[in-house]
Subunit: 877 residues, 2 copies
């Protein structure tokens, strides 16, 4: 016969799938002798049968409930629905994963006009009727769906009638009358009677918990948190204990260590003479838990709690989050689970536990969410400060920044140069805003997603950015930004928190990051554990230095075009684009050559001993030209060309879909002299560095290859130039030539492409865009809905889509290695800093990931975790 219900002493912590998280831990605590009020758990399987069978309870389930209820009654000498010594029950939902979207708790089940008298006789009349009105109120709201304010209104009315101000001043009679009034409300609102039969109450509460699995809120929560829809929830039925029976009663919550700092020792709050909901609701202010020791009525229970806290932490080998109740001086444990903790605390706890001999280094590495490191590497909003939040956008690049609002890049740069703190606020950014982003403390945009220009560039710089904050109405002409009816101008300060997406008015105090201590040790351990290389995307010598500080083992992507946007260079770039003959173009390129060479020398120096992957020019040329009339006129004057000619050029370079246009290697094939210049700058810089004793491994990467022939032609140019330069210098430097795999066709023909490539670097941004046919610049109109409604499991620009993009990576890796077994494989898209994607890269046998410098620690830890999990699976599997 199928078993649908487990007494607490029949289960264990390993049965989370069947009993839910709460039920499994109640069982575990019961079995190791903790003082847990007796009860039982109805399984997730019962829930699924119920939901899939048109709301029929599984056969024999109710009988099993009654059997176990009998045991509970026998154990504590009370009777459910009994007129004397009535047993009261709590019913709590408990899925495998904690789910705030679901129904939570119903207390005091078993009371009615008759049993309440038994309880009154047993304890205290006022207490009994308070329990009763609470049951009717909570049950009617949660199970029957009667709006909560109806009951609040009735309570206010009762207090007015009684001439009192506080709930707890109401007499037993008043409470009794209130319970009756509540039942009238139920009748009016639902058309039915409040169930007086305790068994009806129980059965309805259980099925209500089952049904709450499928509420819209629960579904949305699951969609957002990638929890499968078919798990179902368990239901925990437990005998009630009361923290509100007098001054020797209390209720509280505690962590076994400080969840903010990780400091060892119990940390929490309690309330004397209260029920759990009172702690949460904030009606009364709880006391720090250590104060329990000073109250002789609960001090013995506190001693026991300290001892239990230690035992539970040792038993679970992790910091615990506890709920307890003291009833008449006796301690009862109602819940234990792994405690959520801040990034800093996670690291400190893991390190301490290793030092305490509780866990080993690998376990410590698994205990810290890689994503949490991000907080630690950037300035944070002071958590003690209550900011004036204007709106929330996408958390595009972590860190907090404060400054004056500035709407244009030139002004941002100018003010930045003067040492003033500014936040660049734009509808969206383009490469022309680059210098303004450099000058600003942070970037805020009204449009664009997690991989919009602003987001990508800001992450690359390690600058805070909030993107796609749709609530902002920016009026460039007026120089104002309006949000929720409030209008701010360039006089005003604003603060952004790129870790949460919050946009706040005024200055907000921040806390500076600390990269040393336990974080540094943890990352060293991670480097030992991981097999996947971690490189950084860095475009300047400065970026390269930062990347190295964060532990990057080379540069996986140096985007040469960013070098062209700074100062004079843009001028030469524009001359190059506007050239009408190859010789004019060559002249402009010669000027750029000199600058690029210096950049590369600086980058090679910063990366002494490490490989540096340099990508040849990628973006379409129109990105380098001005688009508005004033700027075009200025350029025309500067460069000595007719305005019309520049306009015509801008017009002729216009593209319907620039993402799929004349860019990447297509430029180098149309204008081989550009590739030639870039190859020459790289090789000359390499030669100079080599002569200065710097160890360098330049890897020249050709972007947007769709066919091996494109790579072959570009490689021909690079090899020819390298040959020429080596001959001229009398020095040879080892280098390699490879390609981005960022188009589906490249992945599908990787066997051919590998014939010309020393390495592949997966450009997962563009590969995602092309595999999905989804422009990241335009996806903002529908992608958030796709993710929130579960059409897409995850945002594919944040986490690699394994089924589609991942399949292409796997195909390309296999085909590439078949042609060239020593082919080096890496990824250099935005995904390189996403822990889930890093795990995929590890599993796919890639050699390295490359990400923004500030994500390097995240990737190092994620890579270590992937390696440890992989080894665990191969040992157990």
């Amino acid at each position: 016969m199928a078993k649908w219900v487990y007494a607490f002493n029949e289960g264990s912590a390993s049965q989370r799938d069947l009993l839910g998280g709460k039920g499994a831990n109640l069982a575990e605590m019961t079995n190791i002798g903790m003082p847990v009020p007796p009860g039982f758990t109805i399984t997730t399987e019962a829930c699924n049968v119920f939901l899939n069978s048109g709301r029929e309870l599984p056969e024999r389930m109710w009988d099993q409930v009654l059997d176990l209820l009998k045991s509970v009654e026998d154990g504590i000498g009370r009777t459910f629905g009994g007129d004397e010594k009535p047993l009261l029950l709590s019913v709590r939902s408990g899925a495998r994963d904690s789910m705030p979207g679901m129904m939570d708790t119903i207390l005091n089940l078993g009371l009615n006009e008759s049993t309440v008298k038994g309880l009154a006789a047993d304890a205290d009349e006022r207490f009994a009727y308070d329990c009763y009105r609470r049951l009717v109120q909570m049950y009617s709201n949660v199970v029957l769906g009667v709006p909560g304010e109806k009951f609040e209104d009735a309570i206010d009315e009762a207090k007015r009638n009684a001439g009192v101000r506080d709930d707890n001043e109401l007499s037993a009679d008043a409470l009794s009358e209130l319970a009756r009034e509540f039942k009238r409300i139920v009748k009016k609102e639902t058309g039915g009677d409040f169930p007086d039969d305790p068994f009806d109450q129980l059965k309805l509460a259980i099925t209500a918990v089952f049904d709450s699995w499928n509420t819209r809120r629960a579904k949305n929560y699951r969609a957002q948190n990638h929890i499968p829809d078919n798990l179902g929830t368990a239901v925990n039925v437990q005998s009630m204990v009361f923290g509100n029976m007098g001054s020797d009663c209390a209720t509280g919550v505690a962590f076994t260590r400080d969840p903010s700092t990780g400091e060892k020792g119990i940390f929490g709050e309690f309330l004397i003479n209260a029920q759990g909901e009172d702690v949460v609701s904030g009606v009364r202010t709880p006391q720090p838990i250590a104060q329990m020791a000073n109250d002789p009525l609960v001090a013995p229970a506190y001693s026991q709690l300290l001892e239990i806290s230690d035992r539970l932490e040792t038993h679970y080998r992790d910091m615990q989050d506890l709920e307890f109740t003291v009833q008449n001086g006796e301690l009862f444990m109602l819940q234990t689970r792994s405690g959520k903790r801040a990034g800093r605390a996670a690291i400190n706890i893991a390190m301490d536990m290793v030092n305490e001999g509780m866990i080993d280094q690998n376990e410590a590495l698994l205990r810290v969410e890689p994503q949490q490191l991000d907080q630690l590497l950037h300035p944070m909003i002071d958590p003690d400060f209550e900011p004036d939040v204007l709106a929330t956008g996408l958390p595009a690049s972590p860190g907090a920044a404060t400054g004056k609002i500035v709407f244009d890049a030139d002004r941002a740069k100018a003010m930045g140069d003067e040492g003033k703190a500014v936040i660049l606020v734009r509808i969206e950014t383009s490469p022309e805003d680059f210098h303004g982003m450099v000058g600003a403390q942070g970037i805020l945009t009204a449009r664009g997603g997690m991989t919009s220009h602003a987001a990508v560039v800001a992450r690359g710089m390690g600058k805070p950015c909030v993107a796609g904050c749709g609530a902002l109405q920016i009026d460039y002409a007026a120089g104002t930004v309006t949000v929720e009816g409030r209008t701010l101008s360039q006089q005003d300060d604003i603060t952004i928190d790129g870790a949460t997406g919050r946009v706040m008015a005024g200055k907000v105090p921040t806390i500076e990051p600390d990269l040393g201590g336990n974080l540094a040790i943890l990352l060293e351990w991670a480097d030992v554990a991981r097999t996947l290389g971690v490189r950084a995307n860095a475009d300047t010598p400065n970026d390269a230095r930062v990347a190295r500080e964060f532990g990057a083992g080379g540069i996986g992507l140096c985007r040469t075009e960013h070098m062209f946007f700074e100062g004079d260079r843009l001028q030469h770039m524009r001359e190059m684009i506007l050239a009408t003959t190859t010789s004019e173009r060559r002249r402009a390129l010669d000027s750029l050559l000199e600058m690029q060479r210096q950049d590369f020398e600086g980058i090679f120096e910063a990366m002494d001993g490490y490989p540096v992957t340099i990508r040849t020019l990628d973006p379409p040329l129109h990105e380098f030209l001005p688009h508005d009339d004033a700027e075009i006129e200025q350029l025309a004057r500067h460069i000595g060309l007719p305005v019309e000619q520049i306009k015509n050029k801008v017009e002729s370079l216009h593209e319907a879909n620039p993402m799929l246009g004349h860019r990447g290697c297509r430029l180098g094939i149309s204008f081989p002299e550009i590739t030639e210049m870039q190859a020459r700058a790289i090789v000359q810089a390499a030669i100079t560095c080599r002569k200065n004793g710097i160890i360098i491994f330049p890897e020249i990467m050709i972007p947007l290859v769709a066919d091996v022939n494109e790579l072959a032609r570009q490689r021909e140019v690079v090899d020819r130039v390298a040959c020429e330069e080596f001959e001229k210098a009398g020095v040879t430097v080892e280098y390699s030539v490879g390609t981005m795999i960022e188009l589906p066709r490249a992945a599908l023909t990787a066997d051919e492409i590998a014939e010309q490539a020393d390495f592949f670097s997966f450009g997962t941004n563009d590969l995602t865009q092309t595999a999905f046919g989804l422009s990241r610049d335009d996806a903002g109109r529908f992608l958030p809905f796709y993710v929130s409604s579960g059409i897409f499991e995850r945002d594919p620009f944040v986490t690699i889509d394994r089924k589609g993009v991942g399949a292409l990576i796997t195909i390309a890796a296999e085909k590439g290695k078949a042609t060239r077994p020593d082919l080096k494989l890496g990824i250099c898209g935005e995904h390189g800093g996403d822990p889930d994607s890093v795990e995929f890269c590890h599993q796919s046998g890639l050699d390295y990931v490359s990400c923004s410098p500030f994500r390097v620690p995240v990737a190092r830890l994620a890579a270590a975790q992937a390696a440890i999990r992989g080894r665990e699976e191969s040992t157990t599997g």
Copy 2:
């Protein structure tokens, strides 16, 4: 020992790869006893060894040449380099495929100051010296690279000196002196002496032919014609015969049937007393070949030619293209090959040969190039007329059209409505130009490729279109188009030929198509032979009727959005887009519902008995809104909304990459009421038709699906609406729901998608764009170079790229069928009308292709050929 050289009697017609086309046929003719001047062929393998070894002749090749030369000498009693009865040789290149990019012919090898005297003694002094000066002239030009005009100048000088006007008035002495002068020119131009040694002449000529395989022209020709670079060319060395030794000599070319009409009987031209080059050069006007019968000196040779012509045609079982020479009354055959023929001729010849019992129906089907049918289905430029060609663009949609130049769509429509013939001339077209395209006879654009908007829409309508004619400078403001310095205005007539891309000034006479007769019979045979279905892409009842006339077995793609551009509908569409609430949107949609239903009824009626695949709304909404200020103001007045609001909407709908933006099913998911309206219109129309006894199979197709969840949600809407309508009407109509596979991710997750799809239709346009990361609207800047320089083997928008896009189709077909073995598979991209792509679809096991109505006959024939070839391969393989 490797055999590098084959005497003509050692080879056969089947050895084209080794001996080249010309060599193999010379061998074949020799073996069946035709009068072929003796000679031998140096193999393509020898050429490849030579080219791959740094220009070393293969070991022993020269010895083999000398051996076979000896046999030739012995056979005809002449000696190469002999002072008496000298043997003269011709050297001709001959690759597997005819290649105009390569060196062709050198005649009269073996002459020098000494042997020329032997020839003079043998024949005639003037003839001998004429041969000599021709050798020096031709050899120096072709082998040594001396510019031809140097020799022409010298001839002019000689004629002036002799006081004569024609070459053939020059005396033997004058010609002798001319040969000496030519040799001085060679010395001056090349620094070396003209080779007097006949064996040097021969060896140099052979290596020059080998080298000509790798000239730029030859490489470009191969790239454009998809001929592999590693085939190499053979070299044919043959004893000379002379058609210029007197009035009993002649030379000519002939076809065994008329290459324009296919009429049976010899067809060709000849010249008395001339060499082959004289026929080609046009210096003298050749006579119709039948005239040979009237000249007693060559009449016997003519009789023999007639007999040989019959024998060759019977032997090769195909119409032959012959070259012959009559030397002193004796006929020699110099070449035979399959004759090129016009489309009409190809069909007639194939049908006649079946009637003559020479070939069977399947062979007849293989004898007609599917592409050639295109000419027959559209008006053609009268081939007898010499048009004034202004420029050449891309042959985007076949057919010839003449009309007044018109630059804007409204005017084109207005003039079209008045019955005037106009050509719509635009820089490029957009959906807003649709009504103008309907009104025009043809469309000419300056920008855009073979799959640009203009091209796609024109092909759909069966209207002539020349696209991407970059030579046009269109000035809308001035109302002029300038090309090569000539300026035309709206007063001028222009003619376009969409089959060749020619743009011509003025009116040009055209020939109307005839769809009956042999063409109809051939296509009936094709329908019997093929297994692949052929449907049409048709958006209106009229298109559907045309498609059916062309033999379409259903509609594979009905693009509902085209219905929205006509007349009032655009108005309602815009109201729908500008709606700010769902109810406003629904009101506008209700108006559209009525119109769509009528369209569908018309289409279903036209397709009685056949399936009709209808795609839900696909293009981004901004395509339906006006973009310039005047139009926006007009719309604002019309619709009663503030201009600003419309502008804001236009602005807010702007997309960086609309191809990858908010379109396809993404629209239907954002606005389910659009899908609902369309589903309702389809189902209501189906119910009405069913009630009227029309047999219909509506297939509702959801576009741009990347994930199964998108299809599932859209399918839910369609099924719900269908259910509602069936219930309301009390009638049920069978229908199916499927999806386009047009994104790489859809192909890669086809197993999942098939769970929700009754059919897949491969949208190969978008699949090509996304697989290559290549926007067809923007590819014009580099794609032509990619194709002409061989980076891409073919234009992937014209012929399916098998390696990339084809791989995705294969993956999707396999995965889809694994989930649902009865899954119906088709393609509906532009490739559906391309013969190579049709073959691929047949091989991939697809159920049908769908193409523009005017391409349906092409696809029917191509499908038949693919089936026949497939059966042949499986029989022989």
